[in-house]
């Protein structure tokens, strides 16, 4: 026994086992997320269940579980299934539990289709008729499907056109109107009278813009008038529903699709997920604004944290006289990394938003008050709060890098007559660059995953617009934004339709992991390039 101990083999097994255990946990976590997240978009077959009591249920199988049984003795296991029946507007709920024992027959009707709608979730049923206004186009499932898919693209394009008009042109008009209104308020704050020519000119401008608005709305109305196609569907149990075509996002007939056809639907759903805006209180549609907000916030955070951390570390290591005070500062900085993030959030609210933002508002945007411009949560404040949160990481990494630079490298430079600053700039900074980037990678990883401080400094459930758009100054740092981490929380735990939203939690988590990975990988690639360039290994 003692011999075994002395060989050191148990230690190898212990350390190896610990590593394997950690890897297993990570792999298991990622596998679970991928399994749950990636399967979500696969179009499943539609099954029609006829129950013992004669009821019919039609939908997609989503889950199967054992029913717990109580009492003495061993019993046959009982199972129940969860079916996504859709048609929330008709049945009240998207999902229904069925005991397997109650099922009399099940079949896969070829004509069954799934319609992804803009409102009320999916509709699962069979086409009864397709109409253009009052004229019937098709009256039978196969023909109806042909007519539906033929007309769908055209109707949807018209709808998108009307939406684009509303969003872009009406958006531009309201933006200009708001600008004129604020200009008038600013003039009045400076003491201009009501009959000041500038004010009347602005008012005339507002009136003119209102006329423009009415003209645009007329065009929108004209387009809307062409949205006349409807489809009449029969759901399970004989309920009927007439649905305008423009309300349909995607029509799929899964029971007749080949594997490749399903793969096509799958890819188009994934593309929608990463490129589109969310719908239905975030439970459907895409998460593009959240991706955008996350990436932009991490970038703004990096831009803020790198100079702050690097300069701090340089002072601590290169200029400050090493002693009790500097050691105390160093300990304080290291401990800052352990402060709960919500504390930073509270600080961000108190300092950045109320104090700095409030001061900016009263100095530069008094005409908009009491509506705050910078005095409310926004992407700038959230990024700065996270920069404060992650600055210890950058400082520690940079300091360690500085300490690792051989003293004789600095002496070589000083010995050639370089000043301390020149040495710092031309020798020390390039050599410490990989360490700085290591710190930045750690900081980014931490910032991308942080949610708590963001919830109170500018992240919202649904942001009306991206922080970047076509209006000067293009980058609107005061705007609220969406964030994948908060999106996960919101969709998973604040959603009105938890059953439908849960798979979205996994897909969104997967996406967040992917983004963190991508950000880190790019930083690692840059670091390795720099490392090769500045490899320090004399003799």
């Amino acid at each position: 026994m003692k011999e075994l101990y002395r060989t050191g083999d148990p230690l190898i097994w212990l350390t190896g086992g610990a590593l394997a255990f950690s890897l297993l946990m990570v792999v298991g976590l990622i596998a679970l997320i991928m399994y749950n997240g990636l399967g979500f978009f696969w179009p499943k077959d539609i099954v029609r269940y006829t129950l013992a009591d004669g009821r019919q249920v039609m939908g997609q199988l989503s889950e199967r579980e054992e029913i717990p049984q109580f009492g003495e003795g061993k019993k046959e296991p009982l199972w129940r299934i969860k079916v996504k029946q859709g048609n929330r507007d008709l049945y009240g709920a998207d999902f229904i539990w069925i005991n397997e024992a109650d099922i009399k027959t099940e079949e896969k009707p070829a004509a069954a289709i799934v319609l992804e709608r803009r409102e009320w979730g999916d509709f699962i049923g069979v086409i009864k008729a397709v109409k253009d206004g009052a004229t019937a186009i098709a009256a039978e499932p196969a023909e109806g499907w042909k007519a539906l898919t033929g007309a769908l693209a055209g109707q949807r394009r018209l709808f998108e056109e009307a939406r684009a008009l509303e969003r872009d042109e009406v958006g531009a008009i309201s933006y200009d109107q708001e600008k004129l209104r604020l200009a008038n308020r600013a003039l009045k704050l400076k003491g201009a009278k009501d009959d000041d020519p500038r004010i009347t000119a602005n008012l005339a401008g507002i009136d003119k813009l209102h006329k423009d608005y009415e003209a645009v709305m007329e065009r929108v109305g004209a387009i809307r008038a062409k949205l006349t196609w409807t489809v009449v569907l029969t759901g399970a149990g004989g309920v009927e529903k007439e649905l305008p075509l423009y309300m349909i996002v995607r029509a799929v007939k899964p029971n007749e699709l080949s594997v490749f056809g399903k793969a096509g639907v799958y890819l188009s759903k994934i593309w929608e997920f990463i490129s589109a805006d969310p719908r239905e209180s975030n439970t459907e549609g895409g998460v593009f604004p959240a991706i955008f907000g996350t990436v932009l916030m991490v970038m703004v955070m990096s831009v803020a944290v790198t100079p702050m951390g690097v300069l701090g570390a340089f002072y601590l290591r290169e200029y400050a006289r090493q002693g009790v005070f500097v050691s105390a500062v160093r300990i304080a900085v290291n401990n800052l990394a352990g402060v709960p993030s919500i504390v930073f959030g509270v600080f961000g609210v108190g300092f950045f938003i109320y104090f700095v933002g409030g001061s900016i508002d009263s100095l530069f945007f008094p005409e908009a008050l009491p509506t705050p411009t910078y005095g409310t949560g926004g992407i700038l404040w959230a990024s700065l709060t996270l920069a404060l949160l992650t600055v210890p990481v950058v400082i520690v990494a940079t300091e360690e890098g500085l300490a690792a630079i051989p003293r004789n490298l600095r002496e070589a430079s000083l010995g050639l007559g370089a000043t301390k600053f020149e040495t710092m700039w031309r020798v020390v900074l390039p050599a410490v660059m990989p360490s700085i980037l290591t710190g930045l990678i750690l900081a980014m990883a931490r910032a991308a995953g942080e949610v708590a401080p963001l919830m109170i400094t500018g992240v919202v459930k649904l942001a009306p617009s991206l922080p970047i758009d076509g209006y000067f100054p293009f980058l609107h740092m005061e705007r609220k934004f969406m964030h994948l981490g908060f999106h996960i929380y919101d969709v998973g735990f604040q959603s009105p339709n938890v059953d439908a939203a849960r798979p979205m939690v996994y897909t969104t988590t997967l996406l967040l992991l992917g983004i963190v990975l991508a950000l880190n990988l790019s930083a690692i690639v840059i670091r390795n390039k720099l490392k090769k360039k500045f490899a320090t290994s004399a003799v």
């Binding site: 006289r321 490298l409 002496e411 070589a412 050639l416 007559g417 490899a535 290994s537």
Partner: protein, 296 residues
């Protein structure tokens, strides 16, 4: 002398001279002992370039140099020998004020260079270090290309033109007997060179700022015998243009390359004389013991 004006602002020569005379008592005999040697007589009078006067240095409360006096002659190689910890490296690092980097250092005495005390507050340290170059014990090329290593010094002293730099780099690499080995890989990393090549690169780098004096702190201690002999040959070549002060552990090296040798022990300059005299007829018992290998 134009170089003097660069090193020191005008109007301070007087005070320097005054100190020159008042401190001139204690150290003179020992210094002259070296100057009145036979080899000196054969080669004609030598010009003194650097003169250390009553230098005492302490790191905190630990005294590292005690009342050291020594003169370095122009275009000669002076070797400093002695056991580890005797203060020879410390003395060398005083000559270009690299010891300034140590926070706790205190220093008394003077080091005269071209008639000025280099520890005078008016001295521009960058200018001093430019004129008193240094090669370190371990080869320490910058993690840059061979070319950038040599061009580093000229660049920080304001040489920016490509053609001029190219010429300087080639000339310095040739002076350091490295050109033929690296001319095809000027833009490769200097860290890919062998140890001996790296050390010669460091010499070329030091030469690029056109120093008057080259300080060498055990430049061969990390090198193999072939690289060592190359660097020793190089030192002898460079002697015609530079004054070289070398610290070495290797007594054969000191006797091979140097014209003058100083023996140090426990922070004191025990004996300073012509190299042949030190090695053949040391006056001090301690020098003899060290040279014959009885201690150290």
């Amino acid at each position: 002398m134009p170089t003097q004006e660069k090193l020191q602002d005008t109007g301070h020569m007087e005070s320097g001279d005054a100190r020159n005379t008042e401190a001139g008592q204690g150290y003179l005999p020992r210094r002259l002992a070296g100057l009145n040697s036979a080899s000196h007589a054969a080669n004609g009078p030598r010009e003194m370039i650097m003169d250390v006067r009553a230098l005492t240095l302490a790191y905190g409360s630990k005294v590292a140099l005690k009342d050291v006096n020594i003169s370095f002659l122009k275009n000669q190689i002076t070797a400093l020998i002695g056991p580890s910890g005797c203060g020879k490296s410390t003395l060398l690092r005083c000559l270009n004020r690299l010891n300034d980097l140590v926070d706790s250092v205190t220093l008394k005495g003077q080091i005269m260079f071209n008639g000025m005390d280099i520890y005078d507050p008016i001295i521009n340290i960058s200018e001093l270090r430019k004129r008193v170059g240094m090669v370190f014990q371990k080869p320490n090329p910058f993690p840059k290309t061979v070319y950038e290593n040599v061009a580093y010094g000229p660049r920080i002293h304001g040489v920016g033109r490509k053609g001029e730099l190219d010429g300087m780099v080639e000339e310095c690499l040739k002076s350091a007997a490295l050109w033929d080995e690296v001319k095809d890989r000027l833009h490769d990393s200097a860290l890919g060179l062998s140890g001996g090549q790296q050390q010669r690169l460091c010499i070329a780098r030091a030469l690029a700022v056109k120093p008057d004096i080259l300080l060498m702190d055990e430049p061969c201690s990390a090198l193999d015998p072939i690289s060592t002999s190359k660097i020793e040959d190089l030192m002898v070549d460079l002697k015609s243009r530079y004054t070289i002060i070398i610290v070495t552990h290797n007594m054969q090296q000191a006797s091979r390359v140097s014209d003058y040798t100083g023996f140090m022990l426990l922070g004191e300059m025990i004996e300073f004389n012509d190299t042949p005299k030190i090695f053949q007829g040391p006056k001090d018992k301690r020098t003899e013991d060290y040279i014959t290998g009885r201690f150290g």
